[in-house]
């Protein structure tokens, strides 16, 4: 999975005026894609949630030709952590493009979302962070599904520094 790239695990649901105890949210793994203008999600997952499209947009996909794709209004919940490492769920309603199944992943997290955050990619560590510059809240991830839990930037940084020091001592 590491070879796929930076992946965010989030939850998708139907937009609601107010949170409801019985609301259904489904897990989705979206690849962070700075080359994608729009966020897209597997259409079968959106239909599973009972969502209906609100319009169509012309998108160029693998065929290389413009195709009419349906746009859905969806609620997206992202796990975040504040500076102390306390976790919470950030929710927002957004337009997502319904796409046919993409290999291994549920969709792409595009610049319509990424333009609101700072993205830090630490390739050698297999890590990336999404930081909300307005409130300094962070989502940190390894490049694999298995390492999904989020933690604060500081915790990860301290762990990495401790590991480096330990290696230096061994040498």
């Amino acid at each position: 999975m590491r070879d796929i790239g930076p992946m965010v695990r989030l939850r998708v649901g139907a937009p609601r005026l107010e949170p409801h105890p019985s609301e259904q949210l489904l897990d989705a793994n979206l690849l962070v894609d700075t080359g994608a203008q729009r966020t897209c999600v597997r259409e079968d997952l959106l239909q599973q949630l009972g969502l209906a499209p609100v319009r169509g947009d012309l998108i160029v996909g693998v065929s290389g030709k413009p195709e009419s794709c349906l746009v859905y209004r969806a609620c997206i919940e992202v796990g975040m952590a504040d500076e102390r490492g306390d976790r919470f769920a950030a929710r927002f309603v957004a337009d997502v493009i319904g796409v046919q199944a993409i290999q291994y992943i549920d969709g792409l997290l595009g610049r319509d979302f990424l333009s609101n955050v700072n993205l830090s990619y630490r390739g050698p560590d297999g890590m990336f962070e999404l930081i909300d510059p307005r409130s300094a809240i962070t989502q940190s991830h390894r490049q694999s599904f298995a390492a999904g839990p989020i933690s604060s930037t500081n915790t990860r940084r301290k762990a990495a520094e401790a590991s480096r020091k330990k290696n230096r001592r061994k040498k």
Binding site: A14, P15, L17, D33, T34, G35, A36, Q37, R38, C40, G50, L51, A52, P53, V54, R55, G56, D57, L58, I59, V60, G61, V62, G64, P66, S68, L70, R73, V93, D95, I97, V99, L108, G110
Partner: protein, 92 residues
């Protein structure tokens, strides 16, 4: 009975056809569009979405769209802008 998907596709064709006229009076507004007509116009997408749901339900087949000139097709991802050069297969 057509599905919501099919209804939205049909309604989008009508919306695109009506766009030049809509641009004269409703440019920049978010509209609920159904059966070839504007049902209501709003300042933001959320207001238009909920007005559409209230009037026709989630699966009513209404279109919620901004009245703006049509944009060129957007690539799903930058990777879609390129096609690998065709090369003869090299291998055993």
């Amino acid at each position: 009975m057509p599905t919501a998907r099919e209804m939205v596709f049909t309604e989008m064709v009508r919306f695109r056809a009506a766009l030049p006229v809509l641009l004269e009076t409703l440019a920049g507004k978010w509209v609920v569009f159904k059966d070839g007509q504007v049902v209501s116009a709003h300042d933001d997408e959320d207001a238009a979405y909920w007005a559409g749901v209230q009037a026709f339900g989630t699966h009513g087949g209404q279109v919620v769209a901004r009245v703006e000139p049509e944009r060129p097709p957007q690539p799903l991802s930058a990777g879609m802008l390129f096609r690998p050069s065709s090369m003869p297969f090299v291998g055993t």
